[in-house]
């Protein structure tokens, strides 16, 4: 019953290497090949005919890409590229990067979270990708690997445009390293529906007590994830400065204004530029409000 696979797509060859080296070799030998992880973005593209059914290198079985490591002394969490959102949420890493857990929890439905991966979210590089603003706000680093070697790139440099990343041909995302922050972090997203919705806009706020800095990253309001340095300085003043409590409300409003001013959204079928600019400011302000009330 239901679909025969053959009804939808023509046959395509799939290799499923069990080591990173084998995968990199397969990619190097076949520059036209696609990397496949959970398939939750790729299959949609195939179904819409936006991608041709080329050879596929599936990375789901590669142990090097499946690890979740928490290093408390070096204060980082490393997620292999093929780690699924559900695996991450069930691991202790989730409590070390709570904003990332909040973002992972909003991705799609349970079925999508069971299949979708961090590597896929990064490589797709959609401005609406839910983990991306959090990774930016946390100053995460992407590990890239190819037959020629490895390199590490800050997430902000990895994203170069809408659906465009720094990935070179033959290169794959191996993993992402996320600092463990002493402070506060949170994520919020706006959608027209109360679950399973592509963000109209989203935002992550990280307050780092260590260097007394605040980082705000906003998604779906520009070609890549955007930071708002001018807003961040207002937040740092509010949280770490000597501002009287009576100034709090004004600072929140000022923070919202500067966050909205930092974005360059567009009109599309999901929303309008005006609404996005307004809404992202509202959720940024709410995040700062939560931080100021919840920060230990």
């Amino acid at each position: 019953m239901g679909w025969d696979a053959g009804d939808i797509v023509a046959t395509m060859s799939v290799t499923s290497p069990d080591s990173l080296d084998a995968a990199l070799a397969a990619l190097a030998d076949n520059p036209a090949a696609h990397v496949l992880a959970g398939g939750t973005d790729m299959m949609v593209e195939l179904n819409f005919g936006r991608r041709s059914p080329a050879p596929v290198v599936s990375v789901g079985r590669i142990p090097e890409l499946r690890g979740i490591d928490v290093d408390r002394s070096a204060r980082f969490v490393r997620l292999g590229a093929a780690v699924t959102f559900s695996e991450f949420l069930a691991s202790e890493a989730a409590s070390q990067a709570p904003a990332l857990a909040q973002a992972a929890r909003t991705v799609g439905s349970l079925q999508i979270r069971n299949a979708g991966t961090f590597g896929g979210n990064l490589a797709t590089c959609s401005p609406a990708g839910d983990t991306l603003p959090v990774l930016v706000a946390l100053s995460a680093t992407v590990e890239l690997a190819s037959r020629d070697g490895r390199r590490r790139v800050p997430v902000e440099e990895f994203m170069v445009g809408p659906k465009r990343s720094a990935l070179k041909p033959g290169e794959i995302v191996a993993g992402v390293t996320v600092p463990i922050i002493d402070g506060w972090q949170g994520f919020a997203t706006v959608g027209t529906r109360n679950a399973m919705v592509i963000a109209v806009c989203n935002a992550a706020l990280v307050v780092d007590r260590h260097d007394r800095s605040v980082r705000l990253a906003m998604g779906s309001v520009g070609p890549t994830i955007l930071r708002a340095p001018e807003a961040e300085s207002v937040a740092a003043r509010m949280l770490f400065g000597a501002e009287p409590t009576s100034a709090r409300a004004d600072l929140l409003v000022e923070f919202e204004r500067r966050a909205s001013a930092a974005v360059s959204p567009i009109d599309d079928q999901r929303s309008t530029a005006d609404y996005r600019r307004h809404a992202v400011g509202v959720i940024a302000r709410r995040l700062l409000d939560r931080a100021s009330r919840e920060m230990p």
Partner: protein, 902 residues
């Protein structure tokens, strides 16, 4: 209301006048008023229901449609040669290959089967391909060369009304211009409120995508079509015209329908599939993808409605003014009727003697719009209810109070001059809705669970940002077709040996008619077994499954046929026992006489008889309205009140609907569970329109043809629904037998439709619920239906094998049980595998069985352990041969069977 007329009579009666045995009356179960479960329910939930897209035959071809990328363009040239050159492509058809009428349509046949020189909306079909493989067909579409000359796109209905738009179609740009005017046209109220309301284009978003399987007759001059549709006979009428065939050479069978909501009223791929099948002389299957489905069927009309209400200072409504503009898109579909519904419901369920309503349904280059659940009334309702809130505010009244003050009652006159002579429990609906319990205080409950706030786990909102609001909406909706349409339904009932068999062409689209039909037969005839024949065109029309009409119309036809059968059964009993027939009736499952002297079970009374009756059912006639929209154009009405409790994040404009309370005038709830199901489903769909669903169209181009961006409510968006059924009996009932008014929303459902003739090739419960693969055969079709085990205790054995196979035992009666184990390939019995039945026999088992069951497993020892724990005896050790390993066991009655590795 006119009584149903009985038209056909055939009978063969024979033999065996059994002596009357007096037995206690058994009540009928699963009759009217019960809620027997629907046969498709569990299958759908488990993903086992066979939708039309599951139909397959050997050696079929795959059809595909080339569609216009432009909303408006001239076709300068089409070159199909590159497509024909592809190996595996069997046919490429364009407009010149259409043998009959080049256009079709429900009301006005203005829509081309394939675009002939010009396209008027994005997605309009231009060419068809049939190929050996769907991917080949898709590639072939891409190789067809079309040279387009884009035309200016007319996207704004106001341009059409202003007369500034170019002529889009030889039949003009206005589908209908109709006014409704009554009473004082100059009246100015003490209080006036006005507003302009816009309603977006909604998709039916049925889950079962459009699909059809066409099988040509061997002589190539006829075709059989298996299709998910709403009205088989209307499809046939339009199909045969386009194919240039006599209607009887076009035969349709309803396939599994996965929702309709109006979206299957117009033809989509029917003509295309049949054309390809006739051209290639091969079976052809077509199926749309979700994206194509957005282009393949009509949608709910977007509308702009201006209204001005005039009232006295105390809120009494005096006059309604309205101007309604419905964008019908490129082709007529049912725009004509949708507009009429909208303008004639402008006053809402309120008394109002003066009205001035101007209605327009116009042609544009937007996607064609037509029927969708509510059919014009939804748009009107959004406007009049928003107006009632404004009126309440202007008069300083509570929103409930202003509605109560104006609530319509039986005997009131609509703005069309028609008197509402049926029950109109508007006030009761409102009062019962208000009395339903409110949800606990909010917003967000204690806010610990973010899913209870707008934005859900997106953590968009904190409870402090949320305000709770309560809104009311009341509506009136007409039932059945209007404006003089000669509407009827047909049904046939056969009673033989205590089993009733029903035949009708009523499309079961999920509303539950198949269950209801069985309930009617059980109640009228006192039988428990009701077999449903396939739903197809081998019987006269049942009309459309739309307009809230099937429970009444086809229910009426089934009822009339069953009553005719009953009266002949009573005649036979009267004759046999020399009793006056007037003294007999069916009580429960028995025929009894008034004085109690005679009591014969229906099964016995009907033994050896075959009684066969057909009936047509018609509702009372309606008339076409005059130029002022006046006349008795509607048949009857239903009423409903809703209260919505909504948590709102005003800063972001996000909502979570917490609860919908509703009291609905359902007539008589013939299947209460099903009525509730329909109410909940309708609420989910209405909520979707209200807060998220919209096909976004810019310059004639759909921007969101997928479920990624066309948002349907999820479980987290669905509110709690509390329901009160308002059951008031139709006062018209006195006028004619069978004019029972049933629920607007009655679905119903059924189950327990079993095949009583156990030794026959499949007699499917009903086509819609019959998964399985259609096969082309000549002569009788035979396949392995079931394996019957003779035994002493069917219940025990059924429980044993069910436990072993992990399925449910089913009881027919004490003598007969069956199970539907998963079969090879994971299917279940009704998906093609045989079932195992257990029947009680008096004789004991002798010797070793000569036919045994092999139960396959991937865990031999585990399976053996389970069997032994359920009461089996182990008869030997595992044996391994070329085919695998097996262990011989004996079931609780000693029948040998094997557990084998697959």
């Amino acid at each position: 209301m006119r009584a149903a007329s009985t038209t056909t009579t055939t009978s063969t009666s024979t033999s065996s006048a059994g002596a009357a045995t007096v037995a206690p009356t058994e009540p009928v179960t699963g009759g009217l008023g019960d809620s027997p479960l629907r046969p498709d329910g569990a299958l759908k939930v488990q993903g086992r229901f066979a939708f039309s897209s599951d139909d397959r035959v050997d050696a079929m071809l795959h059809g595909a449609t080339l569609r216009s990328p432009h909303a408006a363009a001239r076709i300068v040239r089409i070159d199909i040669a590159p497509a024909l050159a592809i190996t595996g492509v069997r046919a490429v058809l364009t407009a010149s290959d259409v043998p009959g009428t080049l256009t079709y349509g429900l009301i006005d046949d203005d829509q081309p089967v394939l675009a002939d020189g010009v396209v008027r909306y994005q997605g309009e079909p231009v060419a068809l391909v049939a190929a050996d493989h769907p991917e080949t067909a898709r590639r072939a579409l891409g190789s067809i060369v079309v040279e387009w000359e884009p035309l200016p796109v007319v996207a704004d209905p106001d341009d059409v009304i202003a007369g500034t738009a170019r002529e889009l179609h030889p039949r003009g740009n206005v589908f209908r211009r109709q006014d409704v005017a009554c009473g004082d046209q100059e009246l100015v109220g003490e209080v006036r409120v006005e507003g302009t309301y816009e309603i977006g284009m909604q998709d039916q978003a049925f889950l079962g995508l459009e699909a059809a399987l066409g099988i040509p007759d061997p002589d190539g001059a006829g075709v059989e079509l298996f299709v998910a549709t709403q009205w088989l006979h209307e499809d046939r009428k339009q199909l045969s015209a386009c194919l240039g065939l006599a209607p009887e050479r076009v035969r349709l069978t309803l396939s599994g329908v996965g929702g309709a909501f109006g979206g299957r009223e117009d033809l989509s791929l029917q003509v295309h599939t049949a054309l390809l099948a006739l051209h290639t002389r091969r079976p052809v299957r077509m199926q749309y993808t979700r994206e194509e489905s957005f282009f393949g069927h009509v949608h709910r009309h977007p509308a702009t409605i201006w209204m001005r209400h005039h009232a006295d200072r105390d809120g009494t409504l005096r006059r309604v003014e309205a101007r309604m503009v419905f964008d019908g898109g490129a082709y007529a579909s049912t725009s004509h009727a949708v507009l009429f519904n909208a303008i004639t419901h402008a006053q809402g369920p309120y008394r109002c003697l003066n009205a001035t309503v101007e209605g327009w349904a116009v042609r544009t280059n937007n996607p064609p719009c037509g029927a969708m659940r509510g059919f014009g009334v939804v748009q009107a309702c959004f406007a009049h209810e928003s107006q009632m809130d404004r009126l309440a505010e202007a008069c300083g009244l509570d929103p409930v109070e202003v509605r109560l003050r104006n609530a319509m009652v039986t005997g009131d006159r609509l703005i069309t001059g028609q008197v509402v002579d049926s029950v109109a429990p508007v006030e009761r609906c409102i009062r019962e809705t208000v009395a339903l319990p409110m949800p606990p205080d909010g917003p967000g409950g204690d806010a610990a669970d973010p899913r209870l706030l707008p934005g859900g786990v997106g953590l968009t909102t904190d409870a402090a940002h949320v305000r709770r609001g309560v809104g009311f909406g009341v509506s009136i909706k007409n039932l059945m077709y209007s404006e003089g349409f000669d509407d009827y339904s047909t049904a046939r009932c056969r009673l033989a040996d205590g089993v009733a068999t029903l035949k009708f062409a009523t499309a079961e689209v999920g509303q539950g008619f198949v269950t209801l039909a069985q309930q009617i037969a059980r109640t009228r005839l006192g039988v428990s077994d009701v077999v449903l024949e396939p739903i197809d065109t081998s019987i006269d029309s049942s009309g459309s499954t739309s307009a809230s009409r099937q429970t009444w119309m086809s229910g009426g036809a089934v009822d009339a046929a069953c009553r005719a059968v009953r009266s002949r059964l009573l005649d036979a009993v009267a004759q046999r026992h020399s009793i006056e027939v007037e003294a007999l009736e069916i009580v429960g499952t028995d025929v009894v006489s008034a004085d109690g002297s005679l009591r014969v079970p229906v099964t016995e009374a009907s033994a050896g008889l075959v009684i066969d009756e057909s009936a047509h059912y018609r509702h009372r006639p309606t008339v076409e309205p005059d130029a002022q929209g006046q006349g008795d154009s509607h048949v009857a009405f239903a009423f409903v009140a809703h209260r919505a409790v909504v948590d709102v994040d005003p800063e972001l404009g996000l909502v979570r609907v917490v609860q919908i309370a509703t009291a609905q005038d359902v007539g008589v709830a013939l299947n209460p569970l099903s009525v509730r199901g329909q109410i909940e489903g309708g609420i989910a769909q209405g909520l979707g329109l209200a807060v998220m669903e919209e096909i976004v169209v810019r310059d004639g181009i759909i921007r969101n043809p997928s479920f990624t961006d066309y948002l349907l409510p999820t479980a987290l968006d669905a509110p709690e629904v509390v329901v009160s059924l308002v059951e008031e009996y139709e006062p018209l009932a006195a006028r004619g037998q069978g004019s029972r008014r049933a629920a607007v929303h009655i679905g119903n459902t059924g189950d327990r439709c079993r095949d009583p003739q156990r030794d026959r090739a499949p007699d499917r419960p009903y086509a819609g619920a019959t998964p399985g693969h259609l096969r082309m055969t000549t002569g009788p079709r035979l396949h392995l239906w079931e394996v019957v085990v003779d035994c002493a205790e069917p219940a025990v054995l059924a429980a044993f094998y069910a436990g072993l196979c992990g399925c449910e035992p089913h009881r027919f009666d004490d003598e007969w049980y069956w199970i539907e184990p998963a079969s090879r390939g994971g299917g279940v019995a009704d998906a093609g595998g045989p079932r195992i039945a257990f029947q009680r026999v008096p004789e004991p088992k002798v010797g070793k069985v000569r036919l045994h069951l092999d139960l396959g497993t991937d865990d031999l020892e585990g399976a053996v352990r389970r069997a032994v724990s359920l009461g089996a005896g182990r008869l030997g050790d595992p044996v391994t041969d070329a085919a695998g390993s097996f262990v011989v066991l004996a079931d609780p009655e000693g029948h040998e069977f094997c557990v084998v590795t697959e």
